[in-house]
């Protein structure tokens, strides 16, 4: 755990061969007779920011939930940090950010961030220290004593990111975390998330159906298609590591976005 | 000894069957599990009465209750007619009807709504059955006084729930009606009453239980020499517990059947409500 943490905290490896964080081999997942995910093979390495993009029903959320051991694989294999997803979950090796903030309304923002730390049995002082640190990191330092429903939607989602970071996992799984927010708030949060990732060296897996969002954030973009959910193409982004919002109008950004759009279209012409 | 052994075996078998059934999600399993549980309880009751020789004045066996149901049919029917047909039904209809109309009346005044609703809610939480002795003084020992108690008990739940229901329709839907130039009554009929139906049914179902309680308890205060409340209190006093249990059985069946009928009607009328929609 601590070794993995150390590796994760170092800057994204450029030359050294990186250890795989998530490896899927011919992974399929069925819900009854419905095939949600079909023969997916991929591998994410330390420091990657991976976006899973595709239309509704392409299995991107299912893939993320499988990594989190929230749904069991039906066939094929899936390893997280070299363990089964279940062992990885029990080792508390990832933080998960849901589509909704899922903050507990009866806890203050600070105590929401402390929730996983309470469950993992950290000392009270350390819980407080970490809550203050990570709330500061997402720009909510002044809102610790507020209750979630007194915050805007964007702030709530930031609090839930602070909660996912608070126990310092090396892997952050995010399921359309900004899907319910307006575009302006979303831009701000994307920039915030990008800087967080840059500074921490986290491995992120991010589900979205927004092309600009995926291109802006990612080092790799996994394009998926529905019925049954499968991977169309994995696009390696050659954008510079340091990014800002203005970059979204640059030629290289638009070129990557175009490749994603072409891949999505290829997935659709299959129907 | 044999009874104890049979009971033990039956209990184990029933527990096993329920554990198996509760893993299945079919309709049959959902109905069979509580049915087995109920039958097991009735068997254990019977076995306990027989095995421990529990005196009849404490607890009659289920078989004795059933035989009382059959040997006193005429008397029990007369009690049922007096209490349910003559007291509960008229009282329920008048109480619910009046509560509904009162809700329509106060709905046009925001001031009245703000004044009446908290009071109505508070009154609903009061032990209203206590007005029974007053009702007996005013309307005599007959069914009229029982019906009056039922009216008193049912009126406020209906008033409060209907008012809440009338506030249910959203601003968007109301704007739509306004854009059609629909007036107050048309909006009420086409939009607000349908939207209020789930709340109205909540009150109707709640009131069906309250009405039965009101009529039965009112008879404890004075009644002619028949009626379900009268029967329960006098038969209990004279230790004819089989008759008491028989009457309670009838009261329970009446209550659940009334409730079930209302629930069916609700399902038919408010099928569109999220609580009835199938998640498919």
């Amino acid at each position: 755990m601590s070794e993995a943490e150390l590796a994760a905290r170092s800057p994204p490896p450029q030359s050294a061969p990186a250890a795989p964080v998530v490896v899927a081999r011919d992974l399929s997942i069925d819900f009854g007779s419905m095939v949600a995910l079909s023969d997916v093979s991929l591998s994410f390495t330390h420091g990657d920011f991976v976006s899973l993009i595709g239309p509704s029903g392409c299995g991107k959320t299912t893939l993320l939930r499988a990594v989190a051991d929230l749904v069991p694989p039906s066939r094929g294999s899936l390893m997280v940090n070299g363990m089964t997803p279940g062992d990885a979950r029990r080792a508390r090796s990832y933080g998960y950010v849901f589509q909704a903030p899922a903050l507990y309304p009866w806890r203050s923002v600070e105590r929401n961030v402390m929730l996983p730390l309470e469950i993992m049995g950290l000392p009270k002082a350390e819980q407080r220290r970490r809550a203050a640190h990570y709330l500061g990191l997402v720009g909510l330092g002044d809102f610790a004593r507020k209750f979630p429903w007194q915050l805007s939607g964007g702030m709530q989602q930031r609090a839930s990111i602070a909660r996912a970071l608070s126990f310092e996992p090396a892997l952050l799984l995010m399921d359309e975390p900004f899907g319910a927010l307006d575009e302006i708030t979303r831009d701000g949060l994307n920039l915030h998330l990008h800087e967080l990732w840059r500074r921490s060296g986290l491995t992120c897996v991010f589900v979205t159906h927004s092309i600009p969002e995926a291109v802006f954030l990612s080092t790799r973009i996994v394009v998926m298609s529905p019925r049954p959910g499968r991977v169309i193409e994995i696009i390696e982004s050659d954008l510079p590591a340091e990014r800002d919002l203005d970059m979204r109008e640059s030629a290289e950004f638009l070129r990557v976005a175009h490749r994603v759009r072409e891949a999505l279209r290829a997935g659709h012409s299959y129907d | 000894m044999t009874i104890a052994l049979v009971s033990l075996l039956l209990t184990i078998a029933a527990l096993w069957a329920m554990a198996r059934l509760s893993r299945s999600d079919t309709r049959t399993a959902r109905l069979a599990t509580p049915a087995i549980f109920g039958l097991l309880l009735i068997w254990l009751w019977q076995a306990a009465v027989m095995g421990f020789h529990i005196p009849r004045i404490l607890l009659p066996a289920p078989t004795e209750v059933v035989s009382a149901l059959f040997s006193h049919t005429a008397m029990l029917r007369r009690d049922f007619v007096q209490t349910f047909v003559r007291s509960v039904i008229p009282g329920y209809v008048i109480g619910c009807g009046f509560g509904f109309l009162a809700a329509l009346a106060i709905d046009r005044s925001a001031f009245l709504k703000r004044g009446l609703l908290p009071l109505g809610g508070l009154i609903s939480a009061m032990p209203i059955v206590g007005v029974a002795p007053i009702a007996v003084m005013w309307f005599g020992f007959g069914w009229q006084s029982k019906a009056a108690v039922v009216v008193a008990m049912t009126i406020f739940p209906m008033l409060v729930n209907t008012t809440a229901g009338l506030a249910e329709s959203g601003a968007l839907e109301r704007d739509l009606m306004t854009s059609y130039a629909a007036g107050y009554w048309l909006t009420l009929l086409k939009l607000r009453l349908p939207a209020a139906l789930p709340h109205i049914f909540t009150a109707l179902k709640l009131n069906s239980t309250l009405a039965l309680i009101g009529a039965v308890v009112a008879e404890f205060f004075g009644s002619p020499v028949f009626g379900m409340g009268f029967r329960i209190s006098t038969a209990a006093a004279s230790l004819n517990l089989d008759v008491v249990w028989a009457t309670i059985t009838i009261a329970a069946l009446t209550g659940s059947l009334s409730f079930a009928l209302l629930a069916l009607a609700e399902r038919a009328v408010t099928f569109w409500h999220p609580s009835f929609r199938n998640p498919s």
């Binding site: 007194q150 | 032990p127 002795p133």
Partner: protein
Amino acid sequence: MTREQSGLRRAVDTAFPVFVVAVAAVVLWYAISAIIGTALLPRPDQVAATLGTSVFGWPVTSPRNLLYHAGVTAEAALVGLAFAIVLGVAIAVGIVHFRVLDRSLMPWVIASQTIPILAIAPMVVVVLGNLGLSGLPPKAAISGYLAFFPIVVGMVTGLRAPDSIQFDLMRTYSASGQQVFAKLRLPASVAFLFPALRVSVALSVMGAIVAELPTGAQAGLGARLLAGSYYGQTLMIWATLVMAALLSASLLGVTALAEAGLRAWRGGRL
């Protein structure tokens, strides 16, 4: 400052219409008693005078004091309520955690809300009397039995209230069953416990009063109602009814205070 003012404004906005309607009800009461005669419907001031004499004219321990009777009834209601809460919460926890209980017991708990349970009151009193239990136990038993069902239903709903992503969240922390219960289910259920508790408080008072009817009991509001009914003491009946309403209202008030306290502690929401 402005916030306090708007709070005061809101309080006046709610209290004023209630006050006006209450005054109108009293005026209506006067009018009706003037029409049908005070023998059938005593005037509010007569009822108030009877209540006042009873409460202030006699020591609290005297059977002539309605507070004494209210105390007897309240004791039964509260003992019953306490048992109902303990047992109701325990059974709800069982139902939420064991599928067998959910499938076998829960349908009966729900169905029992549709039957007039209060009808068993005379029998419970007689049977427990035969076992040598009279006075408080049968009354508390009936109160508790009535109050039990809403608490089970409310708690089962509350313990199941968190949505699936909140449970998923606990799973990603690989929280134990106990942790899920203590940190998620139980805190979430509080919002559902209080509405159930209000219903149960009202039922427990009603149960205690009705349980006093068949005992030939000398004490308690129910006994007082029955005595008034036997001897045609209209004023006594009305005064007792008002006392019963006050008892119910004050127990509901205590519940509301507890709820408000918890609400304040949770920043204004349950």
